[in-house]
Each structure stands twice: as C-alpha cells, then as structure tokens.
C-alpha cells in the first residue's frame, strides 16, 4: 500500500487529539491545527489521554539528544542546593531570626519577573485585554508602608521605634533589643514574686513589625494592628491580646498553653503557626492554620482547626465556621504581597487604605466585580491604582483620599 494512504488510514483510526499531538511533536502542524491542539490540551477532560500520549513518547524515546555537560552540572548543583535550603528551614524549628521562611513558588516567580502583576479573573480574556486607555492615576507617588511601630511601656511611655537605633532599649526591668524591624524580648530569670508587666506594640496604618516574645514565640504584625503582651510569661498560661492582623509562630510548650485573645474570641495553641485577621472593617475574625493545631473559642461556639483550614467567626452570627482556605493568599501580606483570589473591590481597597494610609470614598455604585492577582507591597500607590485601572475601575486621588468612581 502506498505509504501516504497508509498514513491516512492510520490517521483515521487515531483520535483527533492523537493526530494533533503527533503533528505538534513533529512540528508540522498548520497554525490552525496547533491552535486546536492547544485548546484540547488545556481542557482537563483530555488529561488522561494526553498523559497516555506522553507515556508513549517517553517509552519510544532513546537518548538522541543530550544536554551540554555544563548545563547538566549546573542543574544538578541547583537541585542539591535547593534541597539543602529546604532541609535547613524544616529542621530549624526555632522560629527565631528566620525572615520570611515560606515564600511560595508564585512569589518566587514574581521576584523573577521583578515587578507587580495583575490579571483579571475574567474568563472572557479577549474582552479583558482589549485596549484600555490608561488614565494615569495622579497618586503623586504615595509611598507604600514600611517598618513602623510604636512601643508602649508599662508606665504608659511611648517609644517610636523608627527613630531608635538598633540595640538595647530601656524598658523597665525587661531586656528589649531592636534588630532592624524586629523587637526582641529576652527571657530573664524567672522571678515569681515580680509583678507581671505588660507592654504594647502598635503599628500605624502603613506600618508592619516583628516581635520576638520572651518564650521564643514570634509574631508578625500587619498594618493598623497591635499586640498587648507580658514582658515575662510567669503563670501557667501565655496570654496575649491582638487587634488587627498578626501571624504567630508559637514556641512549643505543652505546660503553658498560648492564648491569643481577639475581640471576644480566643485562640488556644500549644505550639504552632497561624494567622489571625481581625480587622474591624471586614466584619469577621479569620484564624488560619499553617502548622500544628489550634482551638478557637468564642462565647457561644468553638472549633478545632487542622492545617490548611480557616475558622471564621462572624460578629453577627457569633458562630465559628471552619473551611479550607488558600494559605498563600492568607500569608501574602507577610510575604510582601497583596494577593486576591476573587476578592471584591471593597476588600482590596480596605487593604490599600491600611497599607498606604489613605482614605477610601465610594462615589456612586460600588463596582460589583471580583479580582484575582498579586501585587508587590513595595509598589507605589500610583502603580497599584494603575494596575486596577487596567481592570476598568476608575479612581480619582485628592491628597490622601482615593475616590472610587
């Protein structure tokens, strides 16, 4: 039989996908065929068939091509190094001076690409990327937040930490040290008769700070937040009070449970990593667990979280609801990002308001749209607004006021 006909017949016995796959691999598709193949490829229902085809390629491949030895050596080096870095961060259980330990792959890509991205969650991508006139926002370079905080000592005196040099801070009987954006309380020899003294660390809008408590627990404080804590944990419990948002890496101590009290709710932990978001404007308290286990209690309700879960206490319902949550999104602030997966404009704007210390005013109907994407928290406000404008939300900036139109 003529080979052309043979091919035709076998092509007819193949599925369309297999035919396109083969022409893609052999690089002899027409443009139309390639597009069709890409369409089929991105459909999840074809997963099994594509995987079967891939298996066939692997089975039938010898070693016709080889990569340069130098490239191979550097790949091998990369692998061993990446893995070493990972092992160190897992074994190093003391959360002490490890900054930003878990930067998600997505964040890494973001760094690679160097700047902020935004994409619209609009399925109809043709519409989404149609030419949009950029009415460049006149947010005359309002700068992002940074490491700002105020420490209030037991006697009520306030220390603005931005203006303090690194090193020891005089704070009554406790030993306090400032190390960049981290405030360290050293554990002093337990004097049981000494009265318990409380300090408060407060971040203004546009501020963030880190705190190392005397038991070795570490707290990351987001903007417009505060933590009220004893300078030594002397009793049988460790109690702190939080407003706003904080991420906790609690040092293990089974004898002394750690309690975070938030606006009538309590999170009880033994040693674990979790985030509490209790910004008043969001109408609920969200506790998200990364590692370990925590129990959350309100007056009427309680719940236990497993890693990857979020407990939401709605202030009105006063009921705790436990659900799965995207920890990358929850932890984005700590990793230097705004990240939204289907958030409404009000959620986005209140986060912007806290970080850039601006007021938000809505003129007319609030646009009912959902957004997804990531932006670096290092971006200037004008850049962030520009990205949002690309998604067809219009702004006007008047001094420190942003008007959403």
């Amino acid at each position: 039989m003529h080979s052309y006909i043979k091919e035709k017949i076998s092509a007819m016995q193949q599925s369309r996908l297999e035919y396109l796959f083969n022409c893609y691999v052999q690089q002899n598709c027409s443009e139309k065929e390639e597009e069709e193949f890409m369409n089929l490829l991105s459909a999840s229902k074809n997963k099994a068939e594509v995987k079967k085809l891939l298996d066939k390629v692997i089975e039938n491949s010898g070693v016709e091509t080889s990569m340069p030895d130098e490239t191979a050596a550097s790949i091998l080096q990369n692998i061993l190094q990446k893995d070493r870095a990972k092992v160190v961060s897992i074994e190093n259980n003391k959360p002490v001076f490890r900054l930003w330990p878990r930067v998600a792959a997505a964040v890494a890509i973001l760094f690679v690409c160097g700047t902020a991205y935004w994409f619209i969650s609009n399925q109809n991508s043709r519409k989404a990327v149609s030419p949009i006139a950029l009415s460049s926002a006149k947010a005359s370079s309002i700068l992002p937040g940074g490491n700002h905080a105020i420490l209030t000592l037991a006697d009520g005196s306030k220390i603005v930490l931005d203006s303090v040099q690194n090193g020891s801070i005089k704070g009554g009987s406790s030993k306090i040290k400032k190390q960049g954006a981290l405030l360290v309380y050293e554990s002093t020899a337990a004097k049981n008769n000494a009265p318990v003294v409380y300090n408060t660390l407060t971040t203004p809008p546009g501020g963030q700070y880190q705190l190392l408590l005397p038991d070795g627990s570490k707290v990351w404080l987001n903007a417009s937040s505060s933590i009220h804590f004893p300078t030594a944990f002397t009793g049988s419990e460790r109690n702190v009070e939080l407003t706003g948002e904080g991420y906790f890496e609690v040092a293990k101590n089974k004898e002394k449970p750690f309690h975070v009290n938030v606006n009538g709710m309590q999170v009880e932990v033994l040693g674990t990593h979790f985030n509490v978001n209790a910004y008043g404007d969001e109408g609920s308290i969200k506790t998200s667990l990364l590692e370990g286990s925590v129990k959350i209690k309100s007056r009427q309700s309680s719940g236990i979280l497993k890693p990857g879960e979020q407990g939401v206490l709605n202030k009105n319902a006063n009921k705790i609801e436990v659900k799965k949550a995207d920890m990358n999104e929850v932890m984005a602030w700590k990793n230097g990002l705004f990240q939204f997966d289907g958030a409404g404009i009000t959620t986005i704007m209140s986060e912007i308001s806290r970080w850039y210390n601006v007021d938000i005013v809505y003129k007319g109907k609030v646009p009912d749209r959902r957004f997804e994407g990531k932006i670096s928290r290092d971006a200037q406000l004008s850049d962030v607004l520009k990205i949002l404008e690309l998604s067809n939300v219009k702004f006007r900036v008047e001094g420190k006021k942003i008007i959403v139109q």
Binding site: N39, M67, I75, L80, C113, I120, V129
Partner: protein, 184 residues
Amino acid sequence: MISQGDEQAFATVFDYYRNKIYGVALKLTHSTTVAEEIVEDVFLKIWTRRAMLNEIENFSAYLFTIARNETYKILKQIAKNYKIVLLSENNQSLVHNNTEDYLIHKEITSLLQKAIERLPHQQKQVYKLMKEEDLKRGEVAEILHLQPETVKFHLAQAMKNIRTYCMLHLNTLIGFTLLLSALF
C-alpha cells in the same frame, strides 16, 4: 543509597537518565530552556522525596511517571497562555499606545532579560546582535564566523525559547499581550 541522602549516588542516577528526560522534554516543548527546567523539576522531585525510594520497586517507571506528570503540567500551562499569544499578535495597536507606560515597560524588560540570560550561548549572541544591536543577518554571520543559515536557525531557536519561557513564567494577561507584541 539515594534514599539515605548520598549525593554521589544521586549524581550517578542523574547522569544516567538526564539525557532521556531532556530529549523527551525537548520534543514536547521545542525549547531548550524549558526542557532544562523540566529536567530540574523532575530530578528535584526525586531528590526531595528520596525517603520514599525504599518503597519503590521499579525506579525507572517511577521516574518516568514523574517526568510525564511534570511535562503535562508545563504543557498545560503553555497551552493555557497560547490563546493570549495569538490574541496579542492580532492586536498590535495595544502596544504602541502603551509602551511608554512605566510599569509595564519595567515588567517587559525584566522578564525578557531573564529569558535572554537563559539562552544557550550562541543563541544569546545571535539574538543580542540582531535584536539589540540591530545588525543584519549577514553582518552577524561575519562577526560570529557562521553561515547565514546557521544565524537564521539560532535566531529562530532563540525566539522560540524566549516565547515558551515567557508563556510559562508570566502570569498576567495584560503583561503577556504586551510582552509578546513587543517580541514580534
């Protein structure tokens, strides 16, 4: 031995299988840069999960399954963004209106730079001379002592590499459109 963390043993296995995986990845992505990434992803998985190797009876089957899944993941990512590429090619005007926009400009430059840095040596030379220095194919051939046909081939490979690399790593619709229109 690998399961106990023996790097030497791992290196031996890596050298034994790397070209096969690379060949498969190259066949499926037509990009050396992305094929290298697949090789790295596959072996990184093997190495980080080495504790599991004790329970694996057929190592090569295990390796090939991982390779197949990684390749699938990457192909799907490329496919997802393929439409956007086509779109951008039909939508040239978008670029010229907005190229001055600072933010987008910054984004394009840094991703392109990253993609160019990862090109194999000769492709990089050819690409830089032709695209950045604006030299003619003949001139580049002379400078590099290559046949003009070879220069053409290297440039095509470089463009393919950059394009696929960007498809894989850039996640924004807007960024994509602009980047790719800037390329073509």
